[in-house]
């Protein structure tokens, strides 16, 4: 019986420990968010900062080209990877039989999703920047990130497609629609909200990615990139560059402000994804 009491005491201790662990993770998160926002908000909310051009040597630079670069890169990457991952997801969920082929595709997807992003960066640099002679540019970065994000985007897209009830497919096929027509006219439209939701999460990742783009897209530009073949400087990479070069006197201000702005963007994407996900689930 005394042993039983011991069991109860260890249970209370364990419960305490787990509460601490659980709360610690939330506290850590809050601490990081509050700290970064508090430090950078004053800089970041200043229109002169986020609408200004960056300076290479002088203090007082802004980060407008970096914001544009980030958004541009997101759009370009999604534009490249979404069609591919929808195609691949359709193959995996509608056509593929369980077997060697789909097994090895899954293996490759799993591998892609564990490779360090710096490896993608080096690969993108050798293939797109050097071998294809594109130079460091948005397109090279977008292609690199498209490969990097393929597994996660594909998984989300595939899930959305698999969630389409089979009865829709049956109904369409029984009306004499071919498989492809069924996919185009019924499966994809039904899965679209889910696919959109699945697309948003990778957007956050693209915004935050730095190791894969510093050698493919660029680190510093003064002008807003317009052409996909222009060198660009996405915010995440620029934040790293600014602190590691510290060429300008006010680099702390720039990094603080840039980090806060980047965090706000990523949080906005996250909550948008949650919101859309919830709305999608309710349907």
């Amino acid at each position: 019986m005394s042993a039983g009491k011991d069991g109860r005491r260890s249970d209370r201790i364990a419960a305490g420990v787990f509460w601490v662990l659980g709360m610690a993770t939330v506290a850590l998160l809050l601490f990081i968010i509050v700290e970064i926002l508090a430090r950078g908000l004053l800089t970041a909310l200043n229109p002169k900062f986020f609408l200004g051009k960056p300076e290479a040597m002088k203090a007082g630079g802004g980060i407008l080209p970096m914001i544009v670069s980030t958004l541009y890169l997101v759009v370009l990457t999604i534009a490249i990877s979404l069609p591919i991952s929808i195609g691949a997801a359709i193959y995996m969920s509608e056509f593929a039989r369980r077997g060697r082929v789909s097994g090895s595709i899954r293996f490759c997807l799993d591998s892609l999703s564990t490779l360090p992003s710096i490896v993608f960066g080096l690969f993108g640099m050798t293939l797109f920047v050097i071998y294809f002679r594109w130079g460091m540019c948005l397109l090279a970065g977008a292609c690199t990130l498209a490969i990097l994000n393929l597994p996660i985007l594909l998984r989300g897209t595939e899930e959305a497609i698999r969630l389409v009830p089979n009865t829709y497919r049956e109904a369409s096929m029984s009306l004499g629609a071919s498989k492809w027509t069924t996919i185009r006219k019924v499966v994809l439209p039904t899965a679209m909200p889910g696919i959109m939701t699945a697309t948003i999460l990778p957007i956050g990742r693209i915004m935050g990615e730095s190791a894969a783009i510093i050698y493919t897209t660029g680190l510093f530009v003064r002008n807003i990139p317009l052409n996909p073949l222009d060198t660009a400087a996405p915010l995440a990479g620029y934040i790293w560059y600014a602190q590691s070069e510290a060429l300008v006197n006010d680099y702390r201000r720039i990094v603080d402000g840039g980090a806060a702005l980047l965090l706000i963007m990523v949080l906005a994407v996250y909550f948008l994804a949650r919101y859309l996900g919830k709305r999608y689930q309710q349907k």
Binding site: P165, Y168, S172, M173, S174, L175, G176, P189
Partner: protein, 261 residues
């Protein structure tokens, strides 16, 4: 077996496998033209399997295999190279759970005609109205054709599905327990509708409901799995009246009097 009616379909020695599992074995059965044929039998005896063989819906299932023949208008639909897409337009299907697309009522009905390449708005309008009328749904939905088909009640959804099938003007319509998911009033409506449609279509209905089979069908086939794990076999087939009043097989009698199943 029935000399007065022509056969729309003839099922000949049909067996069907899910992978290694034989679901039905050696079934031969004629589907008379412009009549309603009911398939009855306890759960798992292969009614759905059989009815889905009739428009090759089983093609969708991986590892499915068929032996035997199903003749539609003198042609075996299981010859290699047979036009399956065309077949499914000729042999429509209504499922157990109403399954309208997540589109408007209009688009649900127009789906089939659009597949056939009809783009002309006026013609589509006509087909939609006509089909909904035939499905006895027009009056209830004509004001809200743009609303989602999924907002209708269960019974309305099922009639919408019937309208959707009618819109491609099939020759045969297969019903797989069309009323098992809807209420009695809606069931009544659909049974009336089926009697109406007999003028134009050959129909096959799978049902668990003995009364329903007796009420709506002209011919009835009774399927049974003798021993668990065995394939389903045809026990008896004949005129619905005969089957329900004077079955020749003792197992049929026991089933229709509710002693098992």
């Amino acid at each position: 077996m029935n000399d007065l009616t022509e056969n729309k379909m003839e099922i000949k020695n049909l067996s069907m496998f899910y992978g290694d599992f034989k679901a039905i074995e050696d079934i031969s059965l004629d589907i008379p033209s412009q009549r309603i044929t009911a398939l009855i039998g306890p759960s798992g005896c292969g009614k759905s399997t059989l009815v889905r063989c009739l428009n090759r819906m089983n093609d969708l299932i991986q590892g499915c295999r068929v032996e035997g023949e199903v003749i539609l208008d003198a042609e075996n639909m299981y010859t290699p190279g047979y036009d399956v897409i065309g077949l499914r337009r000729r042999v429509g299907m209504v499922f157990q759970r109403p399954n309208p697309f997540p589109k408007s009522i209009y688009e649900n009905v127009a789906y089939g005609p659009r597949l056939l390449g009809i783009k002309d708005k006026q013609r589509l309008d006509g087909i939609v109205e006509d089909s909904l009328k035939k499905a006895a749904l027009w009056d209830e939905v004509k004001a809200n054709l743009q609303e989602s088909g999924q907002n209708l009640s269960g019974g309305q959804q099922q009639r919408l599905c019937i309208a959707r099938v009618i819109a491609v003007e099939p020759e045969v319509i297969l019903f797989d327990e069309p009323c098992s998911a809807i209420d009695p009033v809606a069931t009544q409506l659909i049974e009336d509708l089926m009697a109406d449609l007999k003028k134009n279509f050959t129909m096959v209905i799978v049902t668990h409901n003995m009364q329903q089979a007796a009420r709506v069908s002209d011919f009835t086939a009774f399927l049974l799995v003798q021993v668990q794990g065995d394939p389903g076999r045809l026990v008896e087939y004949g005129d619905t009246n005969t089957i329900f009043t004077n079955p020749s097989d003792e197992r049929t009698e026991r089933y229709i009097t509710g002693r098992f199943g």
